[in-house]
């Protein structure tokens, strides 16, 4: 599996400069995956709810199928005004929902 991932990185990162590009690509993939795993563990431990546990497992499984994730992250983090606008709107909605639901106004 690692060979296959290396091939993918090699193919997609060749233009970024031989060994260094692939090396940093691997590092960022490892970082991304570890961060998600740690975040999942944190949510599971602190939230202490079956719903959150199931949600975290589903997200982790979904991410496993998208390896390598860094290219998707890079694609979603371009300086496109459309993408940023989308995430800004999403953030405003999420913040409002969290504050209202968390304070018992919605639920």
């Amino acid at each position: 599996m690692l060979d296959k991932i290396y091939e993918i990185f090699h193919e997609r990162m060749e233009h970024k400069g031989k060994g260094f590009g692939i090396g940093s690509g691997f590092t960022s993939e490892f970082l991304m995956f570890s961060s998600i795993l740690i975040a999942g563990m944190l949510v599971l431990r602190t939230a202490n709810s079956v719903l959150f546990a199931l949600g975290s497992l589903v997200i982790l499984a979904a991410i496993l199928f998208t390896v390598p994730t860094v290219f998707r992250v890079e694609k979603e983090n371009t300086d496109s005004i459309n993408l940023t606008s989308f995430y800004v709107v999403l953030t405003i909605a999420v913040i409002l929902i969290v504050f209202f639901a968390g304070s018992g106004v919605l639920i």
């Binding site: 563990m41 005004i81 940023t84 504050f99 209202f100 304070s103």
Partner: protein, 488 residues
């Protein structure tokens, strides 16, 4: 508290300097003289000012406000208040010193004119006001002024992509500004107050937050994300750093981090009993720090790489603040101070590379150590500093962040901080290798560029990093004492 008349000078003096240099536009010699003298005076004002408050127009705090006003607290401030304590002193001293460095480094560039220097002074005045203001509306006004001044600094580069970056920054600035203003208006509607201390007391007296006040918190949090350059505004912010002149980028990242600190303290003071706010802050901080580091690792341009590192480090500062304990908030603020120093060195090194090679693309650079050994050594030391390697300053703050995460019951986050430090090290050391050690380059360095000013300033900064690393309590203890006394 002593009603110090010098406090407003920290805002008024840079504004006067800005008007003067703007008036003398294109009279280069006069602009340079006034800029240098004014920036040095601006450093002296925070050092000479005694701790205290300044009540604008002499409006004193009312002892008994009439009952028919329906205010939840009897005594309130009647005018704008600026307060000046140890945290403000440390932040303003660093801000003014860095502004002097940026003015010294920018002064001989062709894009320099009265207007460019004026924008540096206006941004200095704005950040000073944001740090000092105890009035929410005054705070908002200066965040807007800062947005315009920062956009102008980027536009001055006169490249299409810098114009685009500034334009996007302004567009999302309207979203953020509108959010903050609407949030303030809603709070004013509910509590009838604008002073942060009074608002905090009134919210405590009013019990649980009403839905309209919750909407206000949510809107102000959106503004906080923008001003701090956290997700989803990290792209807009990193784009600004990337497209500004590297010296200006060093100033922009410092200003963003100090605004992050000032606004976080303001929010935590006003909504001190609302724990969900801290959780939301923490969530966005974690997201930003991971995305920032991942994106930094992917970059092949030094300016873009450092821009994402700066964004990721802002996330680390916000993580400390979001953990919400006195220890973690102090560690977060301490990290902001340490990080702006190391990042400034890296951006100043980038400025020298851009001057010498006319490019910052990593695959075109190489063999830099032979041409500029001192710059290379300092960049290597700055890489160690920013990655949290002892004995440098960021080690002290990152160690405290890790410790505070464990103390707060989030041991997982301490692992994350370590991972992210390693990622930052990998990203920046890759850049160091590509610029200074990689054999073979097809670009010749400009022999006319000596970089004496760059070298002097980065040596001063790395010594500062080392000094804070060896004597961290000089900076950390006053911060911790104030945070404990604020009770946030």
């Amino acid at each position: 508290m002593f009603n110090s008349t010098l406090i407003p000078l920290m805002v008024v003096f840079p504004l006067i300097a800005a008007i003067l240099v703007n008036f003398l536009h294109q009279k280069d010699r006069s602009v340079k003289t006034i800029a240098i003298v004014s920036s040095i005076v601006a450093v002296l004002i925070p050092l000479m000012t005694i701790y205290g408050v300044h009540l604008f127009s002499g409006h004193i705090r009312t002892e008994s406000f009439p009952e028919f006003s329906k205010l939840l607290i009897p005594d309130v401030y009647m005018g704008i208040v600026y307060s000046y304590g140890p945290i403000q002193k440390i932040l303003l001293a660093l801000l003014t010193v860095m502004t002097v460095f940026v003015i010294f480094l920018s002064i001989n560039r062709k894009l320099i004119s009265g207007v460019y220097v004026a924008m540096i002074f206006i941004s200095l005045a704005s950040v000073s006001a944001i740090i000092l203001a105890d009035d929410f509306f005054n705070f908002f006004v200066f965040t807007e002024v800062l947005t315009v001044a920062q956009a102008a600094l980027v536009i001055a580069v006169k490249e299409t992509k810098s114009h685009k970056a500034a334009f996007k920054y302004m567009i999302f600035g309207t979203v953020s500004g509108g959010s903050i203003l609407l949030g303030i208006a809603l709070l004013l509607g509910v509590y009838g107050l604008l002073n942060m201390t009074d608002l905090s007391n009134a919210i405590k007296a009013g019990g649980a937050l009403q839905p309209i006040a919750l909407t206000a918190v949510a809107l102000i949090t959106v503004g906080w994300l923008y001003e701090s350059g956290l997700f989803p505004f990290h792209i807009v912010k990193s784009n600004m750093y990337e497209n500004a002149m590297p010296e200006a980028a060093a100033l922009l990242q410092l200003q963003s981090k100090f605004v992050l600190v000032a606004m976080s303290i303001a929010l935590l003071r006003i909504f001190s009993g609302y724990t969900l706010l801290k959780s939301v802050m923490l969530g966005f901080a974690i997201f930003t720090v991971v995305i920032g580091s991942v994106m930094a690792l992917q970059q092949t341009d030094l300016r873009k790489l450092l821009s994402f590192v700066a964004v990721g480090q802002a996330g680390l500062v916000a993580m400390g603040i979001g953990l919400g304990t006195s220890f973690s908030i102090s560690a977060g603020i301490f990290h902001a101070i340490n990080d702006v120093l190391s990042m400034a060195i890296l951006f100043f090194v980038t400025g020298f590379i851009l001057d010498s090679y006319k490019t910052t693309k990593l695959n075109q650079l190489g063999e830099g150590l032979q041409k500029a050994p001192l710059i290379g050594v300092v960049m290597f030391l700055a890489t160690l500093a920013i990655s949290g390697v002892p004995p440098f300053n960021s080690y002290q703050s990152e160690f405290r962040l890790i410790q505070s995460a464990v103390d707060a019951g989030y041991a997982e986050l301490s692992v994350l901080v370590i991972l992210l430090s390693v990622a930052t090290f990998v990203a920046v050391i890759k850049a160091f290798y590509m610029v200074f050690m990689k054999p073979g380059t097809n670009i010749e360095a400009d022999p006319k560029v000596k970089g004496t000013m760059h070298k002097t300033i980065i040596v001063i900064l790395i010594v500062m990093c080392l000094f804070i690393g060896l004597f961290p309590n000089m900076i950390y203890d006053p911060i911790y004492n104030i945070i404990v006394s604020l009770g946030v």
